[in-house]
């Protein structure tokens, strides 16, 4: 699956849970949201190899 994160694109060959993806990228689940095929998904959602995935950082400064 193709995962877009922080302006870069990552490829993952196997399906995995959202929680696992965040672990792989060393990301805090309170500070990030995951969108799969244009829809927000929870950490127990299983991402399939053909899914289009985007990780969104929610922290902003100021």
């Amino acid at each position: 699956m193709k995962v877009e994160w922080d302006g870069k694109s990552y490829e993952f060959a196997k399906p995995m849970l959202v929680a696992r993806l965040l672990e792989e990228l060393s990301l805090n689940r309170e500070a990030h949201l995951v969108v799969a095929n244009n829809k927000l998904v929870t950490e127990d959602y299983r991402l399939e190899v053909h899914d289009d995935v985007k990780v969104i950082r929610v922290i902003s400064g100021g």
């Binding site: 927000l40 998904v41 929870t42 969104i56 400064g61 100021g62």
Partner: protein, 325 residues
């Protein structure tokens, strides 16, 4: 994970509330939470004419959209900091929301009015950009309220903003700032507009989710000057705590509000409150000196500021109409 309300697949897990919700039920949950905050703390009442400070980010655009959706009609104000490749993109996103809401947005362009972008101004003032930005924004946003007849300035400060500021103030025992934070800061008639923060008890994650679910196109990129800001480091630390103990940020901020209330009812005042508030001899803005920081900076650097606002959108609020429904 299923939505706790309707049983459909959930879109967001809210561990601090021990619940998970689908898009539709989350939108209702978030809107109800903001409406309750507005009503409980009397942030906006009938007859008020609020204006939302918009930056192009998720919090302010979600708030602007949500308030109008709740029937609280309000225009927006944007301060263009003159940051290349960032400020124009932010304004484009704001204009899209203004068009969708059919509301007006005032634009103050720092570079064209003050002759420098925020980086140049910060260098001239010998301040870090975030400090100069905060000072200028507070001043300009207050002035638009005073000059254009809005009596409530609404900002998108969220739970994470408040928790991180509180964390920093406690960490370094900044007593002069510690007890200044509140959901509502009351007006000083003729000098300072009322300021309110309807997202005070909503997390950044929730406001980002609200923007995404509502198809609000916001600026994902961070302000280039805030990359190493301490507030971001504190937010990261608080989110590490939140991950292991959900609800920590909410308890921290709610505990602060209770302490603030107890302190008020006990008649205690901070050293800052005890100081006599004066008003700037040039512009009337509250200050502890003869001139406010903004007028002082203008004078020191030989700048002239006409406080000219561009306006986008042909709509304006009807001051005769009640804003609460």
């Amino acid at each position: 994970m299923k939505c706790r309300v309707c049983g459909q697949p959930a879109s967001i897990n809210l561990r601090s509330y021990k619940t998970a919700l689908c898009d539709s039920d989350f939108l209702s949950f978030f809107e109800k939470r903001v409406r309750t905050t507005i009503e409980k703390y009397r942030l906006i009442t009938e007859g008020d004419i609020p204006i939302v400070a918009v930056s192009g980010g998720k919090d302010s655009l979600s708030l602007w959209y949500l308030m109008n959706k709740l029937g609280i009609e309000c225009d927006g104000v944007y301060i263009d900091l003159g940051i290349e490749g960032y400020s124009d993109t932010s304004l484009d996103k704001i204009k899209k929301v203004a068009d969708a809401l059919k509301r007006k947005v005032y634009v103050f362009r720092i570079r064209s009015v003050l002759d420098k972008g925020i980086d140049g101004l910060a260098r001239a003032m010998k301040r870090v950009p975030c400090s100069a930005c905060g000072m200028i924004k507070r001043y300009i946003m207050n002035r638009i309220c005073m000059d254009k007849g809005y009596n409530v300035l609404v900002t998108g400060h969220n739970l994470d903003d408040e928790a991180s500021a509180l964390f920093g103030n406690v960490l370094y025992w900044k007593k002069e700032y510690l007890w200044k934070k509140d959901i509502v800061l009351e007006a000083k008639e003729g000098h300072l507009s009322k300021k309110v923060k309807p997202l005070f008890l909503c997390s950044e994650r929730e406001s980002a989710a609200y923007a995404i679910m509502s198809d609000i196109d916001y600026v994902y990129e961070e302000c280039p000057f805030s990359m190493n800001a301490k507030s971001i480091i504190y937010k990261g630390m608080l989110n590490t705590l939140e991950e292991s103990s959900p609800g920590t940020k909410l308890m921290f901020v709610k505990g602060y509000l209770r302490a603030l209330k107890d302190m008020g009812s006990a008649g205690e005042t901070t050293r800052e409150e005890a100081r006599e508030t004066k008003y700037c001899v040039n512009c009337g803005y509250p200050t502890y000196g003869e001139k406010c920081s903004f007028c002082w900076a203008l004078e020191k650097f030989g700048l002239h500021c006409s406080l000219k606002f561009d306006e986008y959108g042909s709509y304006s609020i009807d001051s005769e109409r009640a804003v609460m429904t």
